[in-house]
Amino acid sequence: MLPFLKADYGNASSVHQRGRIARHGIEAAREAVANIVNAHPSQVIFTSGGTEANNQALNVMRSRAASGRCVVSAIEHASVLDVAKQLLQYGYELNQCGVDVQGQVIKEHFVELVATKPLLASVMMANNETGGLQPIAELSAIARDAGVIFHTDAVQALGKIDVDFAATGAHMMSLSAHKLYGPKGVGALIVEPGFDVAPLLVGGGQEKGRRSGTENVAAIVGFGMAAMLAQQERTPRAVHTQALRDHLEQGLRALPDIIVFGQKAARLPNTLFMAVPGIDGETLLMELDRVGLEVSSGSACDSEKTGASHVLLAMGVDPELARCAIRISFGKDNTVADVDALLEALQQQIHTLRSLSSMAWA
């Protein structure tokens, strides 16, 4: 990224040399991003992030018809759910497809909803809280057979599992760079060849008129590099993080009453969503933070509100228990020592907080 922040600062739409260097950087990045998801570079629309990509995908509804319905799973990220809810204000309708206790989309429910001819269906590839994976190729085939536009939010999946856009059969797919060791503020919407996607931002005609605005050259180049590295290192990264997660799960078995959500479903290799019943998730993570362990009580985008995770509620988890949830997500730079430190801290915290709460009850 650094050359494009310093010497090669041109506007990619300028025809002079500096502009052309910037253009070249963007096109190389486009190829790298296309490669990692098995798409053609012309299918890649760069956006300001996963949120914008999701917004643009769902807004296709508005460009297609003045009214209609969309079907989304109940565990989608806020940038899908909130857009879908916003569409209600414009007279569109919304159906949420339920999930089972493991967080898997209930296929019969999805089939039923799609059969009623909505305009668009959107199901995420990997959930950001539980890490649970959905059978996207199967769901998209169901949607397609019914003539329904299908979108998948692959923001959390990219780089952790094999994401093959062609194989998903989706019309559109959202990506983000900063979940992939790339920079914040850049993402992409991948579209099927020939699929007409209306722009969310207009004025300037960049990205072949599908996304206007001066390209964030350095960030796009960073995204390309992150994608290239992820493609090369995906397997070792997955093996490494899964080993850490397995080690954690094994250690957790020795602790009393720990609940791991969505454990029986196929999951991302690096994610574990758990609860210690009776210990508030926020409290637990503050305590863990004091000993230098940074985890989360759910998605960062939900954490400005302190309610229980909508994902867990959709899975039928009791709200009291849902408030106890913490998410542990590993990266390529974590070590076994990190996991051991976490296990030790958990054990200690459970001991202290439990005795405190029993004192409070006494």
């Binding site: 300028s14 025809v15 806020a78 940038s79 857009v83 503020g185």
Partner: protein, 404 residues
């Protein structure tokens, strides 16, 4: 002196090294890389702290309250958010919008989109000097006008609109006023505590900050309501969702901080360079300055070299990075719509060059530019049959061209 000489600061600016250095601290594991929305750990808090400081820095340059700043991915998004956001929120009051033909495409294309949604848009003609006649703007106002969108500084010809006067007018009529200030922030003093502006768009990469970063000022007193255009997560008080790119925000803050400290001095320097450039060119035959010279940002000079075709000139002056029209339209060979709107004919519009000077421009570069322009324009004209006819005193307007 290094070639090519960059004279396209209006398209984008190199980052100030101080900005790049600051941003680098917010990218990697040994710096602050957290998600500011993560409330649960210091990585998130530090990121949030840095974003707050940047918000204060951006607000300080334009004398606004930090709470009035909404981060966006750039001025294009700010323009889209302001215009669609205001139009959608106030559609019950009316569906008429007024703008100007010389606005940036981010404004014009957004208005076109609203027209397709059933809104009516009046596109004002500017005067020949590029400025809006406020009386004509007033005459275009109707009972159902909800929004006026006029840019502060034009990206091609650099003219400065009288947004103070326009603001008085719109406020007295209860109409919202949006200003695209992508080209003016850091170049023209902006005091939003006095200006009656409701919404104002900013870009970072036009003032030595990063690309992919901008802001929208949304007035709190009086409180201006707009409808969010991007949803999910409820960042930016619900007006703009999406993970804040901390390094980008910090970069914009630093760029605005530097601009506030150095703007006055920089303008004096740039004005001297610009005058030097114009003085070096204006005595050539058949050159025309586009746009008012008085009401104009210091770094901009837009000149038409009659009888020379713009694109072939750009090819001939490879030592200069300049543009013919704006970057956003320069990929097309259409003559500049801005120059057409101020009454320039196709020939003059086609032969225009925008020189935009900036922080790292030098006197030596300007002198080189003058010499190069003189020799290349001369050379291209030698090859032009039209120039020859003109020299022979043929009135080109009266020639009837035969088709072959």
């Amino acid at each position: 002196m290094k070639l090519p000489i960059y004279l396209d600061y209006a398209a984008t600016t190199p980052m100030d090294p101080r900005v790049a250095q600051k941003m680098a601290q917010y990218l990697t594991l040994d710096g602050v890389f957290g998600n500011p929305a993560s409330r649960s750990h210091p990585f998130g808090w530090k990121a949030e702290e840095a974003a707050s400081e940047a918000r204060i820095q951006v607000a300080a340059l334009i004398n606004a309250d930090p709470k009035e700043i909404v981060w966006t991915s750039g001025a294009t998004e700010s323009d889209n958010l302001a215009i669609k956001g205001a139009a959608h929120f106030h559609q019950r009051k009316g569906k008429h919008i007024i703008t100007c033909k010389t606005e940036h495409k981010a404004v014009l294309d957004t208005c076109r989109q609203l027209e397709r949604e059933g809104y009516e848009v009046t596109y004002l003609d500017p005067e020949e000097n590029g400025l809006i006649d406020v009386a004509k703007l007033e005459a275009a106002m109707r009972d159902d006008t909800v929004l006026v969108s006029i840019m502060h500084v034009n990206n091609e010809i650099g003219v400065i609109q009288d947004i103070a006067a326009i603001g008085e007018l719109t406020r007295s009529k209860g109409i919202l006023f949006h200003v695209d200030a992508a080209q003016s922030a850091g170049k023209v003093a902006i005091d939003l505590s006095r200006l009656k502006v409701d919404l104002m768009s900013f870009s970072a990469h036009k003032i030595y900050g990063p690309k992919g970063m901008g802001a929208l000022y949304v007035s709190r007193k009086p409180r201006v309501r707009i409808e969010a255009q991007m949803h999910g997560g409820g960042h930016e008080r619900g007006m703009r969702s999406g993970t804040l790119a901390v390094h980008q925000i910090v970069g914009m803050g630093e760029a605005f901080r530097i601009a506030r400290l150095e703007m006055a001095e920089e303008n004096t320097r740039l004005l001297a360079l610009r005058d030097r450039l114009w003085n070096g060119l204006k005595d050539m035959e058949e050159v025309y300055l586009n746009g008012d010279l008085e009401h104009r940002v210091a770094g901009n000079l837009n000149v038409s070299f009659n009888f020379v075709e713009g694109e072939s000139m750009i090819m001939a002056i490879k030592d200069l990075a300049v543009s013919s029209g704006s970057a956003c339209t320069s990929a097309s060979l259409e003559p500049s719509y801005v120059l057409r709107a101020i009454g320039r004919n196709d020939e003059l519009a086609h032969s225009s060059i925008r020189f935009s000077l900036g922080r790292f421009s030098t006197e030596e570069e300007v002198d080189y530019t003058i010499a190069l322009m003189k020799s290349k324009v001369d050379k291209l004209r030698q090859m032009s049959p039209l120039w020859e006819m003109f020299q022979d005193g043929v009135d080109l307007e009266s020639v009837e061209w035969a088709a072959h």
